[in-house]
Assembly symmetry: C2
Homo-oligomer: 231 residues x 2
């Protein structure tokens, strides 16, 4: 990953990385991005789903959405993805922190207009969220594809930040008898709620949620397996 | 909540609200915000913790942080908070969706410099995350307060969006025998991990995590109890 004025790490660079493998593994451990852009002199931040294919992020939405229209015009954008791994309880208020993995990427989104590439991108987003779901459902028809805007965003200028591990307290504070440690946090699925109008003979499938990777909760800045997905 | 050009709802206004009670209840059900701003011609989106006191959001960070420096200068900002409640599996790819509650707020952040107000704001952020923790730990000293920038952000121009409930499919697709429904998602704490250097005689407290409100997972656009916290 090239380091530019935009993705250079200012604060606590020891927590940061420009390695594509690290950046990709964090993006694969989440599914919600917050996309920032400036329009009419005002910054906007909009939450949206995404998928990753190699070094490209795909975003989608209604052709009527403000975000898709603005971004599709080729303006500068910033995509932030944050995985919260835990609350870090220190012995002083000041040293409380959060364990997290985050990616911030800068660049310009481009609309995808060719039918085949559009369908591919939508499938990547679907597979990112729920593996195998795409093959089970009705594919988008022409009208639906026309109503869906799809953007691609190259991960050329991005950086990752990771905080993990126990609290770091002031030497003097370790004598205090206040509890300190980490409360891990995990996004968990609950039992699925079937739609009331399921057709007779419908069975509940067991889908894998690829972003829900337990081992990803203890990442390193130099992962070995994180490169396994197309890098 | 006043409705302006910025917080007017464009897309699917039936999912949206400008009610302060709705906006506050969503902000109280999360602890991570994504803050957007423009600096040097480039949009930035940075994840950060926050607390809410009435109609004010508090943000904090190191005085050295880029975000705090830029925002403290009085530039326009956008604060987005998103709670993911579930994945919505429809019978067609097109109608897949997400159940969520989100707030987008526009405005200008102002630095808090008075000592007492700064400590109050930090306590609000702490209480928002882990009730009672503030009273158990060492309070910030003068040096730590000097190193911490605290901003206040008035919730004057904000909007909420909520999607809840089952998938909505095309009439023809209900005959399909593909499973449809909702996979609820919840941010869950796991067993706390004690720091290795706890002082003898330290016991693990049972803190309430106020944002982890189970009843909040089934919100309505017209909540009755959501107004109970100072509105």
């Amino acid at each position: 990953m090239k380091v530019t004025q935009r993705n250079r790490l200012h604060r606590l660079p020891a927590r940061g990385s420009h390695e594509s493998g690290v950046i990709h593994s964090i993006l694969d451990a989440a599914f919600l991005a917050h996309v920032g852009f400036q329009a009419h002199g005002q910054p906007f931040v909009i939450p949206t789903l995404y998928g990753r294919d190699g070094n490209t992020l795909y975003l989608h939405g209604s052709v009527a959405s403000r975000m898709l229209k603005e971004l599709g015009g080729g303006i500068q954008a910033c995509v932030a993805v944050t995985v919260v791994d835990g609350l870090v309880l220190a012995r002083s208020a000041f040293h409380h922190s959060m364990n997290y993995r985050s990616v911030v990427a800068f660049g310009t989104a481009r609309p995808i207009t060719e039918r085949d590439r559009k369908v591919h991108a939508l499938r990547v987003i679907s597979d990112h969220l729920i593996a195998g779901r795409w093959d089970d459902v009705r594919a988008p028809n022409d009208k639906e594809l026309k109503g869906t805007a799809v953007l691609e965003f190259a991960l050329d200028e991005a950086s990752a930040k990771i905080r993990s591990g126990p609290p770091k307290d002031e030497p003097k504070d370790y004598a205090r008898t206040v509890w300190a440690g980490v409360i891990p946090l995990v996004m968990e699925p609950r039992s699925a709620i079937p739609d009331e109008r399921l057709a007779d003979g419908t069975h509940e499938p067991q889908y894998e949620l690829p972003w829900r990777n337990e081992s990803a909760a203890t990442p390193s800045l130099m992962p070995s397996s994180a490169e396994s997905k197309s890098a």
